[in-house]
Symmetry: C2
Subunit: 257 residues, 2 copies
C-alpha cells in the first residue's frame, strides 16, 4: 500500500482539496483508496459530507488507544472504493496525550499496517503544522506531495519544508518517505505574477514540480459545501480534469520511483 | 498609542496584506504609525522591500535582549510617518529562548512602551500560530482585528479563536485587548458561495463584522513583489480604495470603543 502524505505547514495552500480530489480520482480509476484525515479541523471529513462532531469514533481513538483497531474507525464515502478515516477536534489533544508514549511517532504507521491488505493506496491529509501528527504521517509514508500556492511568498518557506523532511528522515528510523512532487495550486493563468512564480518554481526545483497544475476555479471551492469530491460535484469542470490528470501523473511517478 | 493585533491562526487569510495596507493608509491620513512584523517568515518586512536575511537587527533582538532598545531596531519605510520593526527567521527561536524567562508574555509590550510617545498607532502582524509570539502581541494590544477568508470553512475555527482570546484575557493580567472587528477577505463578488459565507458571518457575528470587505484583486497580490503598499503600487485600484475605507472604519471603531 503506497502511502502518500499531502503536506505543507502553510495554511490554505490546497492540501485538503488535493487529498479529497486525488483520492476520488484514483478510486474512480479502479484503485482501492484509504483517505486519512489527520487534521483536527476535520476538513477532509467535512468535505465528504460528514459532521466531525457527530463521529462516534475518529482517528484520535485509533492513535491514542492501540486496542481500537483502525478498521473500526474507517467509514465509507459516496465514492466507490474510497474509504475515509475521519477526524475531529479531539485529535488536537493527541499530541499532548502521546507526549510521554514510547514510539509516539510510529502509532499511525502501526495502525495503517493493520489494514494495508485492503487498499492499494493511502492518502493522508495533514493540517498546517510540523508537529507530532505530521511526523506520524511522514514516518508512515512512502511518498509526500507538497501543494504550493502560487503567490509572491511561495518559494521561501518551501525550501525549509523540504529541509525539514530531510532532517526527519535522518532522525527517525525507519522513514523512507521521498518527495514525489511539488504541486502548484491556485494558479491564475492570466496574471504576470502567477506566471513569474511558476517559472521561478520550475527553475529552482526542476522535475520535482508536477507538470499538472491546479488552477483557481469556483467549483473546487464549492464542492466541499456539497459534501462531494469535484468528480461528483462538477465532473466536466476544469478542476475535475486537472485532478484526474494529476492522479495519472502521480501513478506514473509512483511506478518510476 | 492604540495597539492593534492583526491575528488569526489560520494561514493565508490576509493578515500581512491587511497589516501593510492599513498601516500605509493610516500613515497617509496623517497618523504616526509603527508596524511590527511579528512573524519569523518576515512577510511584512519583505512587503516593504527589505530582505529579512540582510537585517543587522530585528524584532528578535528586541524581544530576547532587553538591553537592546526597540528604537535601535526600528527602520523607516518609503511611506511617510510609517516605521517598521522588521523580522526574520531568527524570531523562530524566540519561543524556545524565552521559555524559562519570567514575564515572557510581556516582553513585546515592555519594548513597545519605550517608543509609545513617538506614534499614534501600532499595528502588529502576527504569523499563523497561537504561540508565545501571538500571546505577546495580544497582551501588548488594546485591540485585535481578525481577517477571515471567505470560503466554506470560514466559520468553524473562528469561534475557537475568539474563545482563545477570551481565555487569554482571563489568564493574563493585565490584558485589555478587545476584538475590534472581523474583516472578510478574499471576497469574490460573483460567486454564490462567497455571498453565502458573508451572510452566514454577519448573521452569526453581527456588528463585529466590518462593513468594509476586501475583494480578491490581482494588484493586492502583486504589491509585495514590488516592495510597496497598495497605495503606492496601485493607488487607483479597488484594493487601495478598500484599505482606505477600512482605515476610516477602524478609526471610527477606535473612537467609539
Ligand atoms: N484550485 C482552487 N480553486 C479555488 N478554490 C480552492 C482551490 N483549492 C482550494 N480551494 C479552496 O481554498 C480553501 C483552502 O483550500 P484547502 O482547504 O484545500 O487548503 P489546506 O491547505 O488544506 O488548508 P489548511 O492549511 O487549513 O488545512 C478551501 O476553501 C478550498 O475549497
Ligand atoms: N484581497 C486579496 N486579493 C488577492 N490576493 C491577496 C489578497 N489578500 C492577500 N492576497 C495574497 O494572498 C497571499 C496570502 O495573503 P497574506 O500573506 O496577507 O496572508 P497571511 O494571513 O498574512 O498569511 P500567513 O498566515 O502566511 O502569515 C499573499 O500572496 C497575498 O499577497
Ligand atoms: Mg486542510
Ligand atoms: Mg502573514
Amino acid at each position: 500500500m503506497r502511502t502518500i502524505t499531502i503536506g505543507n505547514q502553510k495554511g490554505g495552500c490546497g492540501k485538503t482539496t488535493t487529498a479529497i480530489n486525488m483520492s476520488a480520482s484514483l478510486a474512480t480509476l479502479g484503485y482501492r483508496v484509504l483517505l486519512v484525515d489527520l487534521d483536527p479541523q476535520g476538513h477532509a471529513t467535512l468535505g465528504f459530507g460528514y459532521q466531525p462532531n457527530d463521529l462516534k469514533r475518529s482517528v484520535y481513538d485509533a492513535l491514542t488507544n492501540p486496542r481500537i483497531p483502525l478498521s473500526s474507525v474507517v467509514i465509507e464515502t459516496s465514492t466507490d472504493r474510497l474509504d475515509l478515516v475521519p477526524s475531529n477536534i479531539l485529535l488536537g489533544g493527541a499530541e499532548l496525550e502521546l507526549h510521554d508514549v514510547l514510539g509516539k511517532e510510529l502509532v499511525l504507521g502501526e495502525q495503517l499496517r493493520t489494514v494495508e491488505n485492503n487498499y492499494d493506496l493511502c492518502i493522508i491529509d495533514c493540517g498546517p503544522s510540523l508537529g507530532l501528527l505530521m511526523l506520524n504521517s511522514l514516518v508512515a509514508s512512502t511518498d509526500v506531495i507538497v501543494p504550493v500556492q502560487v503567490h509572491f511568498y511561495a518559494l521561501e518557506g518551501l525550501k525549509r519544508l523540504l529541509e525539514t523532511i530531510r532532517i526527519l528522515k535522518e532522525r527517525f528510523h525507519p522513514c523512507w518517505v521521498e518527495a514525489l512532487g511539488l504541486l502548484l495550486t491556485f494558479v491564475d493563468g492570466r496574471t504576470t505574477l502567477s506566471k513569474q512564480v511558476q517559472r521561478g518554481m520550475r527553475d529552482f526545483f526542476g522535475d520535482l514540480v508536477f507538470d499538472t497544475v491546479i488552477h483557481r476555479t469556483v467549483t473546487l471551492a464549492e464542492a466541499p459545501s456539497a459534501g462531494e469530491s469535484i468528480l461528483k460535484y462538477a465532473p466536466d469542470s476544469r478542476g475535475a480534469a486537472e485532478y484526474n490528470t494529476l492522479a495519472q501523473e502521480t501513478l506514473e511517478r509512483l511506478r518510476r520511483s
